[in-house]
Symmetry: C2
Subunit: 345 residues, 2 copies
Amino acid sequence: MTRARRTGPQGRQPTIKQVAERAGVSPMTVSRTLAGRGGVRPEVQRRVLEAVQELGYHRNENARSLRPGHRSGLIGVAITNLGNPYYGPFALGVEEVAAQFGRRIILGNTGEDADREAQLVADFIGRQIEGLIIVPSASSADHLGPDRIGGLPVVLASRRVYGLELDTVVLDDIGGAFRGTKQLLDAGHRRIGYLGNVVSVFTGQRRYSGYEAALAEHGLEPDLTLVHRSQQDVESAGAALARLLELPEPPTAIFSANNRNTIGALSEIGRRIRAGTDPGDLPALVGFDDIELADLSPVPLSVISHDPRQLGAETARLLFRRLEATDPIPARTFELPVTLRTIRP
Amino acid sequence: MTRARRTGPQGRQPTIKQVAERAGVSPMTVSRTLAGRGGVRPEVQRRVLEAVQELGYHRNENARSLRPGHRSGLIGVAITNLGNPYYGPFALGVEEVAAQFGRRIILGNTGEDADREAQLVADFIGRQIEGLIIVPSASSADHLGPDRIGGLPVVLASRRVYGLELDTVVLDDIGGAFRGTKQLLDAGHRRIGYLGNVVSVFTGQRRYSGYEAALAEHGLEPDLTLVHRSQQDVESAGAALARLLELPEPPTAIFSANNRNTIGALSEIGRRIRAGTDPGDLPALVGFDDIELADLSPVPLSVISHDPRQLGAETARLLFRRLEATDPIPARTFELPVTLRTIRP
DNA sequence: CTGTTAGCGCGTTCAG
DNA sequence: CTGAACGCGCTAACAG
């Protein structure tokens, strides 16, 4: 009968001392046995392991990491919006690489709120994380300064924070937006609407500037009546497209700067087609980020494609490269390539 | 000049002792100041807080939680597949409620692998988590038995594990699948294919039995040539539908048991329409789980709708109810309702 | 109001 | 091969 219930429902975990007592040895012998470096009689080892089993003992990692030389094995991860189908896979990429390196991740959602982000970072540091991965919200410069995080290794993902010398992994936002917009221009479109996220966000700026640059190449300037740059979610993106389509002279094509806007736009397009609009009267679309069900698009669609899971993995690898380096490394920024994928010409 | 760099890039965090030294007081005074319960001269407090700032000091939560009576503030979360757009929002729901209760989550991805899940749980326990939230992979009974987790509060989400008395939050899988299938039957369909996930998974069984029950109500039995129950991802789901459509007598409608299968099926349908197939010759669809861009479906579509974020939130709330209870609570199972949403009749 | 003592769980160091 | 002492960072309890 292996009754292993410990000190009641809310009780603490059993300690090495309890195991020692039960096995009739000293705590040191238990420690040695569990360390697996030998130096304990096999028979004693068996007794110890038995006691471990019976009590359901697990070494207290917090106490262990207290000792000099030991590491916490924790990586802090702060993400802006886990609800976005983009960031689930991103977190997965981080988690997988962290697991390969024997680390666990402690995860917080910032909701694009710099204060919340600062709280999270402070808490993470208090938990002795070995490194930090952040998708920074706009204006998160303060709490990431060297005087706040000390020498803690940090890697930013997706977005940079100007004025901070931190490792960063971003996408080729400008190039992707440029090529996407150019594809529309090459197809003959001249009135190209823009659906994007908040101006203050790094990717928002970059993708808009790629859009601008492509227009400029054709001697065009953005027509600001066609530009909506404040949608963070699918609903408002759909509404923004609706407004564009109700203009006296609506755009013939749309560049949308992220998956929320692309999906909102496509949903609105779907609704209009169901209401009887001819697909030929609806705009062509190029969107940043992959989306599922792109295959169903009733209008010409291309996406600027990349894998968020890979972005997460690369970000984590960069962190571990720094963690395992002995010499100081200067901060680097990597730009991951994106590919323009034509779903429906 | 606030040079706050600590002991070099890889150095440990500054300690209370260092702060005390810098402020010219004892560690206790620092502790008291930070605890904010008064009993320290205002001027001394200022000196202490100054030193805290200058050193970039954060209390070591691991050391704190070592003390009797203190809690770690950590909730362990093990999810089967963070890459699934279902589980990002689920994790968000958990995180948000945890944050409300002042807890942080430590997250691991199991990839449906029971061994990995067991490892994660063991590690989490070693980190002194206060509670555990798991989306159990099939056959994860062993490492969740009371002799393994002791009195640690655990809540399962999405799936039950038979033989274990654990709090569980599931969806109305059977009812949802029943109503979805019934809708197809009521529309006159008799050859209704089934696309589902692995048989061994709890939800897979339940949703299939709902499908069966609806058929039975019409005196029908599942035609096993129309049933594919091993697809875990979008690609294989699309391939499974393709096989169904190539049958001499293909199904006129499909019930798909989760978002991966629904999306795979819709993609395949989209491809065929682009290849020239008439939408009228393609099956109607009812799918479990909401999907984005459902609006674009070219065939009749309904979804069995529910919010994974809310599932996560409810799961977390159940955990905290247990954590904050003083008396032991018997294990309970909650079944969250789902709604049948007709996207396109 | 402030400092000293002691101990949380663990593992290194040194004795036996 | 095994155990005792010590200290990691922190704070409750007890002086002063």
